[in-house]
Structures are given as structure tokens and as C-alpha cells.
Subunit: 269 residues, 2 copies
Amino acid sequence: MRTAFYISDGTAITSEVFGHALLSLFPTKLNHVTIPFVETKERAMEVKVEIDAARSEDEGRAIVFHTFVDNDLRDIIASADAMEYDFLNYFTTPIERELGVAAVPKTHRTHSMHEKTYDSRIEAMNYALANDDGGNMKNMKDADVILVGVSRSGKTPTSLYLALQYGIKAANYPFVEEDMDNLKLPPEIKAVKEKVFGLTITPQRLSAIRNERRANSRYASTRQCRIELKEVEMLYKKERIPYLDSTHFSVEEISAKILAETGLQRHKY
Amino acid sequence: MRTAFYISDGTAITSEVFGHALLSLFPTKLNHVTIPFVETKERAMEVKVEIDAARSEDEGRAIVFHTFVDNDLRDIIASADAMEYDFLNYFTTPIERELGVAAVPKTHRTHSMHEKTYDSRIEAMNYALANDDGGNMKNMKDADVILVGVSRSGKTPTSLYLALQYGIKAANYPFVEEDMDNLKLPPEIKAVKEKVFGLTITPQRLSAIRNERRANSRYASTRQCRIELKEVEMLYKKERIPYLDSTHFSVEEISAKILAETGLQRHKY
């Protein structure tokens, strides 16, 4: 099996995301190795040796995705016996021409706490944790978005992803069995109804997820799941709450869809 | 101000990460617009019109980063009056040559729940939430890593990031004031000491963070922060617990450093 390396003088997150997106187009199985914080010549030499070694052990030379600010470090990595993709630099010159300004390379330029939105992402994450699962109804007015839905419909992971990645303050509130007889929005949420976004899911998928948590319980039964989901979807329609079915979507996809539908701005750049 | 667009028939996360990393090299201020899930010709035409409109309102044409699987949709976006970067496709041919196989474009190939590691990331996130702040000492043996440190030293955001991004089960345990007289690892954690990783921070930064939470409290005083940090660092040294100073690092950087130091494998590909 050949090896794909993701290497950087920073976190290597950009190399990982780019390389992963590119390699996922191919059916070939690869061994993946991420090496962040290659910040000295000595370390770069060690990494070059590791890349070279990957060739002799494998069925071909390694594939290397790298982003370096320091040219000397980059040159050491580029001297390894591998197919190397210096993918950011490749596009730098055309952007310089287009914008009419020179690039200003900075170490740790992305994914560092010097990103101007860093503090707002951490603040949003603390908000999401404090307001998970209806934890603090009096804070609902501070939310950018309030996710509602039955237990295990994807509210918590989506709230945390929106916060950590995009600095969006997402509260979430669960509709539980006891609410179902006369389902309505709690007054604290009704007061800021324009912020509410609903999640739903198929009874089959919900039952499977709940069974992992409490096997063979009434809570996990398809019948109970169906009753709860029907009530909740009726409420969404009655209150004209926008909602989506999370059954076939990842947290990343649900988050992107919520942003697209609500028009909320990412605090990312 | 010119506009940068990040467009895709999927989440557009790859376009965002790549475009953001590239544009962060430049001092130019830009307006950023992400448009995910462009899945029909009608929608692509609307987006083309939006890109064209960005030119006339701005000081130059838009800069467009896009990833499309469907060639017809791509062609519509590419026909807009903009500088466009079809950055994944650019690198596809050389990879095909290197691997000796053709690319197999699939919609929603990345950032979807069909990624084989998706379930493990959600499971890890549920684990991190259930085992946040020493929440469940009997689960410590199931952790991939146990982060320890004083209150507000960065344990919770790092645990959640490791889980959501990398599928790593990270528990965390806080050392609180009451522990300080005779600081030691709780027996449940001592039993799996090889999994423990410590965080520390400067007293000044810790005091600033705590002051945001409880202004002018003893808890937030530099003196109290200094006492707690000194005890905790002594424990790290005595127990030979690897640790890092989170003061100048983002959650992304702390996570990447922990992975590099512990050798934990990302459940990502």
C-alpha cells in the first residue's frame, strides 16, 4: 500500500483537507500519515528520510501534500523521492496577478488563535455546551439559531459543529415524550421563533440510533419514534418552522444546509 | 471590496478550506460568500448571475473556488465573469497518472455520512460530552486520551475538536482548588496513566479567561491561577505526564500537537 503524507510547518489541516478531497476521487487504498509542526531543518530532514523509507517498503513512491512558509524547509521536503504537491504555492502567483498585491507568507497563518474569529468560535462553543439539551432557557434570546427536535435527531453534534467551525451560537432544545400530548414551543423559544430550526429523521433510523443507547426499550421502539416524529413534524408545519430531515446527512452537511437556509453568516474569515 | 465565492454541489467545505488558506496569504480584505449544494442547472444559473453581479458592484471581478462532480454544473459556474479556481480537477490528472487508475467522481464524496469513519466521529463526540469535566470516572478506561488541567485551560474545546474532527475518544478531568493541598491523580485515571495528557497555561492568560467568566473573583485572581498552575505542573513532572502550554495555541494547534506527541491515529480516512 502506498503512503500519502500531509506535512506542514503548521497544523497540516489544510494539507489534510485538500489531499483527502483529492484522493477520495480514487478507489485506491492508501496509508495516511499526517506530520504537523515541521519547524526546523533537522525535523524536515527526519521527515524526508521517512518519506524516502515509505517508498522502499511500499509498491510505489509516496504522495506528499505540503504547505510551508519557509522555503528552506520546503526544499528539504521537496527533495524526497516522492510525488509532491505544493498545492498552495501553485496558485499563489495567479492570485498575486489578479489582486495586484504580493503574497505575505506568515507562519501559522490559518488554524491559529490569531485568526480574528478565533475567540468568537470558542465563545460560541461554550454557549452551545451551556445551552445543550434545553440547558438554560433564559439564554435562548442570545442564540443565533435554536435547533429543536426529538431526542437523538442530531441536535447536539450539529450545535457543536456550528459553534466550533463557524462561530455560530446554536442552542438546542429537545421535545421529549412527556411533551407529546399537547406539543407546543416553550414560551422562551416561542418569543424568538424566527431563530428556530427543526430537525427530523425517519422512524427507522431514529429507532436504530436509540437502540444503540437503550436496546429494546420503549424509547427506542419504532412505534414510539413514529409517534414522536409525527407530532413534531405537525408542530413544524403549524408554526411554520423551517426543518430538514437529517437521516441521510452528516453533521457537516446538516450544518451547511442550515446556514444556507437561514442565511446566517459564518464567523470564519 | 471584491468577493470570494466558495461553491460546490456538496458542503463546499473543501473549497472554503483551500480558498481560505490561499487568500490568507494576501493582505487584501475580501467579502466571503459560501454557496453549498448547487445541485441543479437552475440553481447553477442563479449562482452564475450572483457571481456576475458581484463584479459590477465591486472593484473587480469575483474570485471563485469551486468543486463540482457534474461537468454541466461546473461549466455553468465557469462561464461566469470571474477568476475561477477548479483546484481539485487541476490535480486530478497527475494523480491518475501516478496511481495508474482513473478518478471515480462521486457526489458528496467528502464530508458526508458515507465516509467510513463518520459513525466513529459521532460516537467519539458522544463520549467526549459524557466524559467532559470528569463526568464519568468509570469510563476513563475507554478513552483514547484523557486531558487533564486546571479549570479553563482548554480541555473541553480540545476534547470536542479531537472527537468531531478525528474520531478520537477524549475524556477530560479538571484539577480544582480543593485538590490542590495534596494534588494527585484520581485512582481511575492513575490506572490508565499512559493515556493522560496535561494542559497548562500562563497565570496571566488563565486569569484573563477566568475573569470573563467570574470577574474579580478569587477564582480568577492571578495569585490563585499561579498557585493552581504551579501545583499541576509539579504533578505533571512527578508523574511524567506529557503536557503542553496552551497559552499561544488554538484548539486546532493543541489537537494537532497532542496527536503528534501521543502518536494517536486519526480516524479520518
